[in-house]
């Protein structure tokens, strides 16, 4: 199950998709819209994708995970459009005979999805500003457009998906 949707994510459908009599464990990961980042508050997030490529990359990730771990099922769903607080933007489910593999594969899938799948989020801050989130570029304290256009963006390639201790945006 590989899906890009504008509707709320049906988590039960992901769990059904990875059910197997050969599975002893299933792990479901949800990435959700967090209200508080540092001292800023989020009102909503808007997700946009290069849909055809995103779907293809998600399918490649599922295949790669099945090569690396003995999985009995995998499912990846990403939602697009505007999401309110607490809503899930991404859901990943995997099942495997033993739980270690399900945990490892689930974590690898979300880490790698965040590195390679062409999807972008825009923070709509509670103060009325909004900005596109682009890891590796300095976050703008005042909203995206003016700051980015002002230049001096570093020539840093895509962020390597490191877990930021103090992320400047809604980053699980």
């Amino acid at each position: 199950m590989i899906e890009i949707t504008h509707e709320p994510i049906d988590t039960a459908a992901l769990l059904r998709a990875v059910e197997s009599n050969l599975a002893g464990a299933a792990v479901l990961f949800l990435g959700t819209t967090r209200e508080v980042t540092g001292d800023r508050r989020t009102r909503s997030l808007v997700y946009e994708a290069y849909e055809a490529m995103a779907r293809q990359k998600m399918a490649e990730l599922a295949e790669e995970a099945s090569r690396r771990w003995p999985l009995t099922g995998s499912a990846l769903v990403h939602r697009l459009g505007e999401l309110g607080l607490g809503e899930a933007s991404v859901a990943i489910a995997v099942s495997s005979p033993h739980r270690c593999d399900a945990f490892e594969a689930g974590q690898w899938l979300i880490d790698t999805l965040k590195e390679v799948v062409p999807i972008w989020k825009q923070e709509n801050w509670a103060d009325g500003t909004c900005e596109w989130v682009h890891p590796g570029q300095p976050p703008s304290p005042t909203g995206g457009l003016a700051e980015s256009a002002a230049g001096s963006a570093p020539a840093e390639p895509h962020a390597e998906g490191a877990h930021p201790a103090n992320p400047a945006s809604n980053e699980s």
């Binding site: 490529m53 990403h78 965040k114 390679v116 062409p118 995206g144 980015s148 390639p157 945006s169």
Partner: protein
């Protein structure tokens, strides 16, 4: 040849359009495209240093050659999940 480039996120915002069109010499590479985009769309210039390109829905490198009917996309650092 004339190529169309899909724009997303901050690139779309800066260009004010979801597609950029640039004129390239035949057998141009992604590096040539990057330079042509900066000339043709000055507002995009600051962000081009941090984007990569996809050709036919696969990530490309600077040496990848472009063909007239390729599907080309400008990919700013991704932030899905």
């Amino acid at each position: 040849m004339k190529v169309e480039v899909k724009l997303f996120a901050v690139a779309k915002q800066l260009a004010g359009a979801d597609t950029a069109v640039v004129e390239l010499a035949d057998a141009s590479t992604v590096a040539d495209l990057r330079a042509a985009l900066a000339r043709t769309y000055p507002p995009l210039a600051p962000t081009l240093a941090s984007v990569v390109f996809a050709v036919n829905a696969a990530y490309a490198d600077e040496q990848t050659r472009l063909h007239p009917h390729d599907e080309i996309a400008c990919i700013p650092p991704v932030s899905g999940g």
